[in-house]
């Protein structure tokens, strides 16, 4: 197992209609409907970014989670040299389905441009970068399941090579009614060691 001098500064988890930041519940809703949950969470946690409503659900989920880490109340500024490494299993499947339904009937063929632009999972990275004016490295991987090792390798490369001062890692998966977001911020400061065991422990918390 690779040991590095890097640490996990903070982490957030969104699942089952609740948001936990650094292990503490910061928002929860009784609704089982993801769209409604995201709307309520937006009002409670963001509230001043109307573009949020134009995004697909995957981007909304990713942005909402990233807001907890990139702009916590205790921080006055965001490190602009923060790279993004995200992954999931379902890619942009939910939006792909929505797009497909608009082009299936040849006699009612009206694909929506605002749906089509989200038929790639990495668009959510663009949304986060635009919100926080990040001009940094980013990549979105599609993999069978959450893999701490893959995140660890990519993150350590970016930090060791000096291409980024911090790396925001994220697993953001959405398929029908099943969704989860797990994000963590890695840098050279923090209390939690950046290794596979710790990452997996935080993910499964």
């Amino acid at each position: 197992m690779e040991e590095t001098p890097f640490y996990i500064e903070s982490y957030v988890s969104i699942k089952e209609s609740s948001i936990a930041f650094n292990g503490k519940n910061v928002f929860c809703s009784e609704t089982k409907d993801l769209q409604l949950f995201l709307k309520k969470a937006y009002k409670a946690r963001i509230s001043n970014y109307p573009k949020f409503h134009k995004m697909d659900l995957l981007s909304q989920l990713a942005l909402l989670a990233s807001e907890c880490i990139l702009k916590p109340e205790s921080h006055s500024s965001i490190n602009k040299n923060t790279a993004l490494i995200f992954a999931n299993h379902a890619s942009s499947l939910e939006t792909d389905r929505k797009h497909q339904s608009s082009i299936t009937d040849k006699n009612n063929y009206y694909p929506s441009p605002s749906v089509f632009v989200y038929t790639l999972p990495n668009i959510c990275l663009g949304e986060i970068s635009i919100k926080h004016q990040l001009h940094t490295e980013n990549c979105f991987l599609v993999m069978p399941s959450f893999s701490p090792k893959d995140f660890l390798i990519q993150t350590n490369y970016l930090l060791k090579s000096g291409k980024a001062e911090k790396v925001l890692c994220g697993w953001v998966n959405l398929d029908a009614n099943n969704y989860e977001a797990f994000l963590y911020l890695v840098s050279n400061t923090g209390a939690i060691k950046h290794n596979e065991t710790e990452i997996l422990e935080l993910y499964t918390k």
Binding site: P50, H53, P111, P113, S114
Partner: protein, 84 residues
Amino acid sequence: MSLQLELKEKIIELLNLEDIAVEDIDNSDALFGDGLGLDSIDALELIVMLDKDYGIKLTNPNDGKAIFQSIDVLANYIKTHRTK
């Protein structure tokens, strides 16, 4: 319902303008730029709406700049060119 009111309701719903109500949009307000702040994807969405709901096909997207100036301008264009 007037065509202007119909368009305002459609635009709010279609473009997910969650924080904007029909009363917030004046018939002469600019839809793009400093007005409602719509973007290029919104413009494409409005072009699809013209085709789907009013049977108007804009073959040149640049025409949208003049047509989407305001609710009044858009309503007048629809009244003149609609096929359904």
